[in-house]
């Protein structure tokens, strides 16, 4: 009697919108999630990702749009009728109940037999590796343990879909890395679909099968972590995926490539989407802009931080623009450095408003 997600094929979200008064927090989100998939909703705060999650859970009603679980419309159901597991940002453990009663709460609401509940709860405890903590109150547990209880409570009802709202944001850095691995392991173990809200791109890249990047209540791009990392579809997505150098500039066509004016020099870049010259935005990750004696760009180092393997630096080019780059050799403030970037790693976007 292992804990396994309730069977379903696909969750379909169609034009899901939600407004608060005159503010449109969510503008027509469309998304399909298959069983077993781990999807991260990624975006800056206020982008509507938490609103989207609450709409899926049923805690907020939709202004328009629909949600389907296979062939059943569920957008009019109350949260208690949907049967999705949800992990809250502050865990929301019931402070007056023992760990076991917290985890068993969902099962007892289903009216299961006592022995059945006990068995499932013990199994959930062992899945989240909290076997001997069952009798404690949540207040007696550490943050990481509370997190595990919250996950156990959400998965023990064997939900088709597990919703997680920035579950790691209250933990310290080391525990965050540890729980990241745990969350993915538990997801794979029970085989549910997981929708995971985060503002941390690293978390989304390492956990998810698919990332949904949101901004201002709109889905900007959906793709695998590799796709998003290597080829963001828009300049704002690129910014969010760690392309720290976003340079407004002019470009001219040169074969399949574009010549972009960056920091007073001509740099070859790859056009993305409809970019064909004229006003453009060039996006380069700092780790793709390397110190290189033969490089076309010349900058004066303004600051340099040692990040273990590399120096993470900020330099100022001849035309006054700031450029972030990486150097394997020690550089110091005031040094003159030449930089180069591979043309496939300089992405050129048309200057469109998001």
């Amino acid at each position: 009697m292992a804990i396994a997600a309730r069977d379903f094929r696909e969750l379909k979200v169609d034009g899901m919108s939600r407004s608060f008064g005159s503010v449109n927090a969510l503008k027509g989100v469309t998304l399909n999630v298959r069983r077993g998939e781990f999807v991260a909703l990624l975006g800056p705060s206020g982008c509507g990702k938490s609103t989207a999650l609450n709409c899926l859970a049923g805690l907020l009603t939709l202004s328009s749009g629909s949600i389907w679980l296979d062939s059943t419309p569920i957008d009019r159901l109350e949260p208690e009728q949907r049967g999705f597991g949800m992990v809250f940002q502050n865990y929301a453990l019931f402070p007056h109940m023992s760990v076991k009663r917290n985890i068993g709460f969902g099962l007892s609401m289903q009216g299961r037999a006592r022995a059945d509940i006990e068995k499932k709860v013990n199994e959930a405890l062992s899945i989240v590796r909290l076997g001997d903590q069952g009798e404690k109150l949540p207040g007696q547990l550490s943050g990481g343990q509370q997190q595990r209880v919250a996950i156990a409570r959400a998965i023990v009802i064997e939900p088709p879909l597990v919703l997680m709202d920035e579950p790691l944001s209250n933990l310290d850095a080391k525990l965050r890395l540890e729980m990241r691995v745990e969350i993915r392991r538990i997801h794979d173990f029970i085989g549910s679909a997981t929708i995971y809200v985060t503002h941390d791109q690293e978390e989304a890249l390492s956990l998810a099968d698919r990332i949904v990047v949101m901004r201002d209540g709109v889905v900007r791009q959906v793709g695998t972590p590799q796709e998003l990392y290597a080829r963001p579809a828009h300049a704002d997505v690129a910014e969010f995926m760690g392309y720290r150098n976003l340079i407004r500039s002019q470009a001219s066509k040169s074969g399949n490539m574009l010549n972009v004016r960056i920091g007073g020099a001509d740099v070859q870049g790859t056009p993305v989407g409809t970019a064909a010259g004229g006003d453009v935005i060039a996006a380069i990750r700092p780790d793709d802009l390397k110190a290189d004696a033969g490089g076309p760009l010349a900058v004066t180092v303004e600051s340099a931080q040692y990040h273990g393997r590399e120096f993470y630096c900020c330099g100022r080019a001849g035309d006054g623009s700031e450029l972030y780059f990486c150097s394997e050799h020690k550089v110091a403030k005031g040094d003159r450095v030449r930089l180069a970037a591979d043309s496939s790693r300089v992405l050129v976007y048309t200057e469109d408003a998001p």
Partner: protein
């Protein structure tokens, strides 16, 4: 109004030293820190003196009068030291007032506290909570006498209520100068207090707990019984105590709206009559002591029952 206010003032003003952890190495005798430091580690320093006015105030206005009355009650006009108490408990006209007062105070307290729960549950979701709260709180500002006058006029034999009933062909109902009148007045003047307290306790419960319960399949009724009520129990106990003490000492409405010689002859009327009609302060003090003892007994009972329920934080996480 307890000697606790001294401790409160101190912990507010003294710099926090982090309790147990800050206490020095107690086992080692050779590095014993100076007295001033040791006192400071127990949160006692010059700032503690700021609590002195409060302590004096409590002693002068609460502790001294209480002890004075206590001693006075054992020095009767005639007879031995227990004569007042013997007199009270041998005359049904006197000791029956305990029952009469409880018969008013207990139902009024229960009604006020129980009604305040659904009202507060609803009001916490209202957008313009302030306006609604202000309206509900108006009776506090009116005072019992004004409420009593209003009820006398409105519910009396010639009042609007009975005249309207007469128009419908229904006989007059007697709602004042009896038990009902006092009860209505106690509810009107007591409810705002219980409501405000309950509202603040309910809004203190983390809303994500209810959301979590609903994603786990709990319907509104189950959420109330399993989540809200257990977390509210502490607050309700305090609310019951305060409300009971307030209603048990009912005096103006029992006289104005009740029948002070009959069903609503409450214990405070006995104390009043002893003090200002018979000029027997010793007897009056004895009645006041008995009154205080009954209140203490009920409050102790409620607080003891509190041990059966959860007492702790009502937040959902590390906060």
């Amino acid at each position: 109004m307890t000697p606790d206010s001294g401790r409160l003032a101190r912990s507010c003003f003294a710099p926090r030293k982090g309790g147990r952890d800050a206490r020095g190495p107690e086992g080692r005798e050779e590095t014993r820190p100076p007295l001033r430091v040791r006192l400071a580690l127990r949160d006692l320093d010059a700032v503690t003196l700021l609590a002195l006015p409060a302590i004096l105030f409590v002693a002068a206005l609460f502790v001294y009068p209480f002890l004075y009355g206590f001693v006075l009650s054992f020095t009767p006009k005639a007879g031995d030291w227990l004569a007042n108490y013997r007199k009270f408990f041998s005359d049904p006209f006197l000791y029956d007032t305990i029952g009469a007062t409880l018969w008013l105070a207990v139902p009024a307290t229960l009604i006020n506290v129980l009604i305040s729960i659904p009202v507060a549950m609803r009001v916490r979701r209202v957008q313009r909570r302030r306006i609604l709260t202000a309206i509900l709180v108006v009776p506090i500002t009116l005072g019992t006498v004004l409420i009593a006058e209003g009820l006398l006029n409105y519910l009396g034999p010639q009042g609007w209520f009975n005249r309207s009933l007469a128009l419908l062909g229904l006989g007059p109902v007697r709602l004042v100068h009896n038990y009902t009148g006092v009860m209505l007045s106690l509810i009107m003047s007591g409810f705002p207090f219980t409501f405000l307290l309950t509202l603040s306790y309910i809004t203190g419960i983390d809303p994500s707990l209810e959301q979590a319960a609903s994603t786990l399949g709990a319907k509104a009724r189950a959420r109330f019984w399993h989540i809200i009520l257990p977390l509210l129990a502490q607050g309700l106990a305090i609310n019951l105590c305060l409300s009971f003490v307030q209603t048990f000492s009912v005096f103006p409405s029992a006289v104005l709206l009740g029948s002070p010689a009959g069903a609503t002859r409450v214990i405070s009327i006995v104390a009043y009559q002893a003090a200002y009609e018979q000029y027997d302060y010793s007897m009056a003090s004895a009645v006041a002591m008995i009154m205080g003892f009954v209140q203490l007994a009920v409050v102790t009972l409620i607080l003891a029952a509190r041990g059966l329920v959860y007492r702790g934080a009502v937040g959902g996480g590390k906060g």
